[in-house]
């Protein structure tokens, strides 16, 4: 059984090594709003920020074109950097790109690799803590979404989602539903029926 915990709430009366917790006086406390499973000892953040990790796929907007780097706004406390030599063609400020986090440097700047320019479409800003649910287990949810709406959807771990083509309205509605109801059961089926109903309209 899972329960909703708030910052400072006790999870266990013994020290547990779980992310987003602190251990104080031999007890474990949560530092976030989260769902905690007492049996499996799993803490799932309900609200949380994105911490870049190598290999994360991100969506960003080119902020500045400097001499040999581009700075990228990631809607996070971290700024992205792309070396001009990694870019095919030219990017200009305002371009939307998809890229992969290569590494984090000491100043907490995320070095990005393999940038791809995304033209057209629109961007949704989601809570980063809900992105895993949008992707679904083994990317099943997002695959279902793109298939049913015929929309090209790129998901960034930083909370930005880019959509283009197909039934974008339906896809947007579905993604926002997933964000709002991420902590509930049977979401996959509800999204599925929502997509099917939306297609008929």
């Amino acid at each position: 059984m899972q329960r909703i915990v708030v910052p400072g709430e006790e999870l266990a009366d013994k020290p547990l090594r779980i992310d987003n917790t602190i251990i104080d006086g031999g007890r474990t406390y949560s530092t976030l709003m989260a769902l905690y499973d007492d049996e499996k000892k799993i803490l799932t953040p309900l609200e949380g920020l994105w911490y870049p990790r190598g290999g994360d796929n991100v969506i960003g907007i080119i902020e500045e074109d400097k001499f040999n780097v581009y700075t990228v706004a990631l809607d996070a406390p971290y700024r992205g950097l792309i070396f001009s030599k990694d870019v095919e063609g030219d990017l200009i400020a305002g371009d939307i790109i998809e890229a992969t986090v290569k590494e984090l440097d000491k100043t907490k700047t995320a070095m990005l690799a393999r940038p791809r320019r995304l033209s057209g479409g629109k961007i949704l800003y989601l809570k980063p803590s809900k992105i895993p649910r949008v992707l679904g287990r083994g990317n099943t949810m997002i695959r279902q979404l793109s298939m049913e709406t015929q929309s090209n959807i790129k998901v960034g771990m930083n909370g930005l989602i880019w959509l283009n083509g197909g039934n974008m309205d339906l896809a947007t509605r579905a993604i926002l539903t997933i964000q709002d109801e991420a902590h509930t059961n049977g979401l996959t089926e509800r999204v599925k029926s929502m997509l099917e109903a939306g297609k008929k309209v």
Partner: protein
């Protein structure tokens, strides 16, 4: 601390002017996620106080010279709306009082937010008093804690604030504006409930050592009620949606643990 010949009688027939007992809080209502554009937000109605808190960030600290390469900085702005109170609070823009309260609120939260996780960034915390009726700094800290929790910024605790005052020799909890103006002492206190640490302690007027200890005890006792209100406000939006579908989840994919 008002005084002199015009001081009104604050305790009549063993009760306070608004009919409360000496250790009774005013009614508290807290709502989470009230400002859509903010990363985290909350709204509180504490008696006649109406306060909105919103959190933005963490984002890159600007101007650059204020940033700290070791940890995040908090920029807190407490402000009373020009229409918020009978007195002139807020009518002339930022003032000495607002600057002071912003500072003590910031220092309160520096003790509970895990600032070292976001070096070089800033967290903006706005506390806007829409209607003030005494004890706004305590209520502001209480609602700001809820707003910070909804923003997903990691915190080691959910602090609360409450004020204790002295009317004659009688200690009273949670002063309203008239009591605040004419009492013999006013002590706003903020406490981190998990560790029982006092994060804010200011005193206007004077109290004996015993009275201070008693005041702290009253604040801690009241804190149990306030903390529960905070936690309930945070859980409510999630429980409402979960109730709609009658089960709290067990088989959802786990996000990448940060």
């Amino acid at each position: 601390m008002g005084g002199g010949a015009n001081k009104p009688e604050l305790i009549v027939n063993g009760k306070r002017l608004d009919g409360r007992a000496f250790d009774e809080l005013r009614e508290i209502k807290i709502e989470a996620n009230t400002v859509k554009n903010a990363v985290g937000s909350a709204y509180i109605e504490w008696g006649n106080n109406k306060i909105l808190a919103a959190v933005y960030g963490p984002k890159e600290a600007l101007p650059k010279h204020v940033s700290d390469p070791e940890k995040a900085i908090i920029k807190c702005r407490y402000q009373m709306a020009p229409f918020s109170s009978l007195e002139g609070h807020g009518r002339t823009g930022p003032n000495r009082r607002a600057t002071e309260i912003s500072k003590v609120t910031r220092e309160t939260f520096e003790n509970v937010i895990q600032l070292d996780k976001f070096p070089g960034s800033e967290i903006d915390l706005y506390i806007e008093v829409l209607q003030g009726d005494g004890g706004t700094r305590a209520a502001g800290i209480t609602v700001a804690a809820v707003a910070l929790a909804t923003s997903g910024i990691p915190m080691t605790d959910l602090p609360y604030g409450v004020s204790v005052g002295k009317i004659g020799e009688q200690l009273v909890l949670d002063l309203n504006m008239i009591e605040d103006n004419y009492s013999d002492a006013d002590v706003p206190i903020a406490i981190s409930p998990r560790q029982g640490k006092v994060l804010l302690f200011q005193m206007d007027g004077s109290m004996s050592r015993e009275q201070i200890m008693e005041a702290l005890q009253m604040a801690r006792k009241a804190g149990e009620v306030i903390s529960k209100k905070q936690r309930d406000a945070l859980r409510l939006p999630y429980e409402q949606i979960a109730d709609k579908y009658k089960a709290v989840p067990s088989n959802q994919p786990q996000p990448a643990q940060a």
